[in-house]
Amino acid sequence: MSWLISPRRLRQLGVLGMNQRNIEYIAGHNDRRLFPLVDDKLKTKELAIDAGLSVPKLVGVIRYQHEIRSIKAMLHSQPAFCIKPSKGSGGKGILVIHDHDDQQYFKPNNQALTLTDIMRHTSNILAGLFSLGGQPDKAIIEDLIHFDDQFINYSFEGVPDIRIIVFRGFPVMAMMRLSTATSDGKANLHQGAVGVGIDITTGYASHAVQFDRPVTHHPDTEMPLSEIRIPDWRQLLYMAAHCYEMSGLGYLGVDIVLDARKGPMLLELNARPGLAIQIANHQGLSHRLSDVSALDEHALSPDERVAYVQQHFQDSTA
């Protein structure tokens, strides 16, 4: 495999570049005014609840420094949880605790943290250490997802999630993100998570990628990635398609987790979804995006849009 590809070839394959994504899709279809809705996870959560989408249970919100002292009580009855900055980006500042005894809090890799560590982390979140532009933030404490047993061996320490790119209400491309030892349990590709391309019509895995390079097996668990099948795939697509009406954003990344008991839940929305999904699917976005541009999305209901996608966007490499 050569380490370089000509721009002509990339254009031919319809691979979307960063500049084009920024100018034509993010600036062109995402109204700046709507960004706070998705940049603030708490707002997204409220929005999703209003729209009737299921979301992970909110344990509590810490808005002010003095509330941090009450965190121990808040966490007491919550054996597994995660603390997130409400305005965080790129998975920064997310602390996952899968068990605790009010003294020691265990991360998924069984590293023990003290209550002071938890409080300091929360304080950092409030001070804006992890938020965009360093603005003051809120800390959200959420119930930890109990992910589906069938994926237990596909993920190292973290929760796998499914990222679906939704363009003008059409789910155009999807991938599953599996955390690895390198990514420290986080599902962000640039931190070393594995991205598994998911055929948008079937929910079956196609290709996979880690650090922008193809892989076939999970680097930690050695599981063959091509055997992934996502259950209730249509439901995930509906959920993603609904997020368009909910958020008003034309170019959107929808992150969904699969909870063993409660089914697919909306985790967060992203107004600036990354481009690695193309490598994971071994497929460029541009052609699909321009197909969708030719349609009038307002004339179609989310169901109809999902139907259109499942009919038209067959995985050409399968």
Binding site: R9, G17, I23, T116, R213, I279, T317
Partner: protein, 506 residues
Amino acid sequence: MQDKIPYYLLVTLLIAVGFGSAIYRHINLDIPWLPGETREVWRVEARLEFTADGDAIVAQMAIPESHPGFTLLEQATASPGYGLSYLTEEKRPAVRWSTQQASGKQVLYYRAQFLLDDKQEASWPPSPDISEPPILPDPISLAAGRLIEQAKKQSANQITMAAQLINGLRSDDQQVQLLKQDRSLAAAALILMQLAEIPAREVTAIRLKHNRRNQDSLPYLMVYAEDQVAFFNLTNGKEGRPERLLIWEMEDQPLIDLEGGHNTRVSFSMLREVVPVQKALEQKYRDVSAMQVSLHSLPQEEQQMFRGLLLIPVGVMVVMIIRVLVGLRTSGTFMPVLIALALMQTSLGAGLAGFVLVVVTGLVVRGYLSRLNLLLVARISAVIIVVILLTATFSVIAYNLRIVEGLNIIFFPMIIIAWTIERMSLLWEEEGGEEVMKQGGGSLFVALLAYLVMSNGYIQHLTFNFPGLQLVLLALILILGSYTGYRLIELVRFSPFASRSQEPPK
């Protein structure tokens, strides 16, 4: 497409105005495109020497002005004991020395600096009226008439005729000798010009030659013909104005007008200085009208500041190119420009070493601070103070080790460095040292690149002397801002696609 038209218009306009103003400045203000060009500045000193009669003295000496080929930059006199006045508003500019009483040998100096300047816009004084020729004895006027008759036949216009007349004057012909009797060649020539009705005047000139002393002035004949002038050397009759011929006096007047003294003698000494164009222009445009307003008219210190300021857009441009066309990530969008600016104040090696030293030490200190469980603002404030203490310490150590460059470390923007340390430290905790090296290295690389571009002599010359080019930069940035093509690193990033078959995907 419709809404793109104003954008294209704007970009075209910016580029046109930017280049237009640069070309205007090049042509009209003589600002060269390239640095390193030099101009000659001549220091000329006129030495007036005479013997005073013991009474009141008034000495008036013609002084030169800017004229085609020369721009007067500065003038001064040295004349202890004499009252001085410049008569520059007169038709005939002069300097006048006066004193109540003096005796013995007197020496007065007048000094002027001239820029050899082919863009000088002053024009020659208008042609003189043709005055009535003096009444000459018959044989002489006959000879003169013959000479004029002959010259007329061999010439096409007034200048060639003047040339013929002066040639004729130099021949050994007996009648011509008659004409020159009791007269200098200059006086004879002037009479001939009057008889032939050719407007002409006698001017005093000096040939500028480097490091000469005790030079005499040369009489030249300046002949007008319609819109041009020609010069004739009256000592040897040669036509033409040699290069570096400074016309000292051009109003048909004697150089010196002295009351109360005798034995006058004027001699000149001259010295050439080769100065950078920059300096020459600074002097030339020191007090010009707003039309030609230029950064050169600012005080030196402010000029220096603008020099730096005008370079920032270039640095920003470098960052733009790296981010948009190449796709390299840096920590803090324009931090590299600030580092580059700081590097310009220090020397490169010392600057880089100092920067790395401060950041690394800062990281160590920050590592300890993170254990104290502080608020973000407090932590950054603490880092700022530590950074300042560090720079102070390093400066003192460097100074005591006789490393003078070490002192320049204070030019680094402390707050920016503190934030850099904070970000890198977080990056270290979250993503590990490798990412810190990557982003820190990327920032330093871009800073280095920006530094190389910004410290380039040509770039500095262009940005400072042609501020209009900033508009061109602005236009380029607008163009880059709408570039939707691939970034260089994306060609590597998406290279797995190279294995895909050629068939068009659906």
